[in-house]
């Protein structure tokens, strides 16, 4: 069994996730008027789809193939550094974009994301971030006139 899925078969997790999502949908949907088939209310469709998704989740778990299938064996190893950097890039873009503008946001986003690759050095990440920032600011600020300040303090 793969270490990303330590206790169960992968399809059990997959089925459980679908059941959970279906449950949330059906529960949320039941807050709105259901109506009848003749006059469907806004809640009818979400509830129906939620229940359908729960059934599908149950079927996925029930038909879980015995042992690891070929696809499962080909799963990547946990890639925490890469994942963290790819999530970190957009997070920095949101935070810096709100407070300081496009230039620092772009630089930080590309720089941090680039560090996710194990072969990237600090220098090559800096060079890449600088290039993309220059290109991005010219394209989006000057050519496409995106209403986002290049450099600012205290937010927009």
């Amino acid at each position: 069994m793969h270490k990303l899925f330590p206790w169960w078969k992968r399809d059990y997790y997959a089925g459980a996730l679908m059941i959970l999502l279906g449950l949330i949908t059906a529960h949320e949907g039941s807050n709105y008027p259901l109506g009848s088939l003749n006059q469907m209310g806004p809640g009818y469709f979400p509830v129906a789809l939620g229940i359908l998704l729960m059934i599908l989740g149950g079927l996925i778990a029930a038909t879980a193939t015995a042992g690891a299938d070929a696809e499962e064996a080909a799963l990547p190893h946990a890639e925490w550094r890469g994942w963290a950097c790819i999530i970190g890039g957009p997070v920095l873009f949101i935070l810096l974009g709100r407070s300081t503008g496009m230039l620092p946001a772009t630089f930080a986003c590309v720089f941090v994301a680039a560090l996710g690759d194990r072969e990237t050095t600090l220098k090559s990440a800096l060079v890449l971030a600088t290039c993309v920032t220059v290109f991005g600011v010219i394209l989006f600020h000057y050519l496409l006139k995106l209403p986002m300040p290049v450099l600012t303090w205290g937010g927009t």
Partner: protein, 517 residues
């Protein structure tokens, strides 16, 4: 019929030849060819990234460009497969089998030349098919009521999710998830905000850009990072003069081109079977009818000619159900429909008569684009080969920035960037759990229209659910429902067979992919 088609086509050319339309078409195929060549970038991610840029453009220009990216990427993807043995684009995975051995024998140029000619033949046939078939389909579809539209969508969704890669059950679950995501936001009839979890920003629904870039951008980057695809560029030095195939090669490839084209155009008509399945089927056919099947896998030129012609014919044919019925066959088509809907254009059978400039302009741009691609690929082959060496470690951080700024620019709203990130992480979890998230987008795009038509059908029939299989009053709808039932039964039978020990039903090998195709 031929006469009206020609007049309409003439009109289409006048639209497509307008300078700015021509420019966007050229830009589209250029970008498409580029991302097709780059290992690790797919047409779906690229179209999603370009989508926000099209919001300010005229609808015709937007659709010409986005479509150009799609078929342009097919030309580029073949280069990647033949010269590097990298099946980064699923439709071209099968081309590796004979393309790479040819490259090793120093005949990579010939293989590329055969590919370009075959692609052009395939594409031309696909476009011609669209010119005649789409209006014919429309004249049938115009008679559809809400019940027929609904059951047709059901069939399209089921086919799209069960015939694609991976477990059919998981595919259907993804479609349902897409339908649910499509519900988010204010209800069309009553205005009640649904599934918004109290977030004001979700009242207008989930942006298609946020969904597509989350699932096909961020989630794909998380999957591909540090995978370090190893490839070898030592055979990949091809010059223009190597590309002219010899007379013997052309004679050998001629019938494979024709057979591939026909298989591809047939596959295009069955919803859910896109270019990937077409290329696998045509390779298998070609190998089966060959008098020398042992040459396949060791550099048979037929093994390149047939699947490539079939891919391109299927790619162009894919547009038929999308443009004439408003039912997308795969992810790219769902994105294109989304782009049209953002422009305020309602997809469906009325599209051709209401927006002839879009439909006929698109068809004319296919011809122009394909000719441009042949021109781009032959003299510039050296440049494309150089691009093969751009490593992924430079590619994904730049692409990530384009994702962020693109989503922000769509509405000037940082919330959407956060939503994209959330969807991306969630999408990666789905990938790890063995879901192929492509059908989410199909469900998402069709969801609201499906619900609307379903409600209307129920209203007309006074809540009688059996209206869909009412063979007397709704024979067409009954046929669609019957076909859907057949699809499900076929899947159950296949599954039961797989369960029987010692006997495995033949499955189409899942193409190892970098990006959804």
């Amino acid at each position: 019929m031929i006469e009206t088609a020609l007049t309409d086509l003439w009109y289409g050319f006048s639209v497509a030849f307008e300078p700015h339309n021509l420019m966007w078409c050229f830009l589209g195929v250029l970008v498409g060819n580029m991302v097709g060549v780059l290992p690790g970038m797919g047409p779906v991610a690229t179209i999603s990234i370009l989508l926000p840029l099209t919001f300010g453009m005229k609808p015709v220009a937007a659709i010409l460009m986005l479509a150009g990216v799609y078929y342009g990427a097919q030309y580029g993807g073949a280069i990647c497969s033949i010269l590097l043995n990298l099946p980064c684009h699923p439709p071209h995975a099968v081309t590796c089998l004979d393309g790479y051995p040819l490259t090793k024998q120093g005949k990579g140029g010939t293989a590329l030349g055969i590919t370009v000619i075959g692609s052009f033949i395939g594409a031309s046939f696909g476009i011609t098919e669209m010119i005649f078939l789409a209006p014919a389909l429309v004249s049938v579809a115009m008679k559809f009521g809400p019940a027929e539209v609904c059951s047709l969508m059901l069939l399209g969704l089921l086919a799209g999710s069960t015939l694609a890669r991976g477990s059919p059950l998981k595919g259907v679950a993804m479609t349902v998830l897409g339908l649910i995501i499509g519900i988010v936001g204010a209800d069309i009839e009553t205005g009640t905000p649904r599934l918004t979890f109290g977030l004001l920003e979700l009242y207008d629904g989930v942006e298609i850009v946020a969904l597509a870039l989350g699932v096909f951008g961020i989630a794909e980057f998380m999957k591909s990072i540090n995978q370090n695809i190893k490839f070898d560029t030592k055979y990949a030095n091809v010059k223009v003069r190597d590309m002219w195939p010899s007379g013997a090669d052309i004679r050998r490839s001629f019938f494979p081109w024709i057979r591939g084209t026909l298989i591809g155009s047939l596959c295009a008509l069955i919803p859910g079977t896109g270019p990937t399945i077409a290329s696998f089927v045509s390779y298998a056919t070609e190998k089966k009818i060959s008098r020398t099947p042992e040459r396949f896998g060791n550099g048979a030129i037929e093994g390149v000619a047939c699947p490539e012609a079939s891919t391109h014919s299927s790619v162009q044919g894919d547009f038929i159900p999308t443009m004439s019925l408003g039912i997308p066959g795969d992810t790219v088509m769902a994105l294109l429909l989304g782009a049209l809907m953002i422009q305020g254009i309602v997809p469906g059978p009325q599209l051709i008569s209401q927006h002839p400039d879009i439909f006929w302009g698109l068809i004319a741009s296919f011809w122009i684009g394909n000719i441009l691609l042949v021109v781009l690929n032959v003299p510039m082959i050296g440049l494309w080969v150089k691009m093969l060496a751009v490593p992924y470690k430079y590619l994904y951080p730049s692409a990530l920035f384009f994702v962020c700024i693109g989503v922000y620019g769509a509405n000037n709203d940082m919330f959407q960037v956060g939503l994209t990130l959330f969807i991306g992480v969630f999408g990666y979890i789905l990938l790890l759990l063995g879901f192929h998230p492509a059908p989410i987008l199909l469900g998402f795009v069709l969801g609201p229209r499906f619900e609307e038509n379903f409600r209307r059908a129920m209203l007309i029939s006074r809540g009688d659910i059996w209206v869909f299989v009412d063979i007397k009053n709704h024979p067409i709808s009954t046929v669609f429902v019957g076909l859907s039932a057949l699809l499900i039964i076929a899947q159950v039978v296949l599954w039961l067979r797989r369960m029987r020990p010692g006997e495995r039903a033949p499955r189409i090998a899942p193409a190892p992919s970098q990006a959804e195709g």
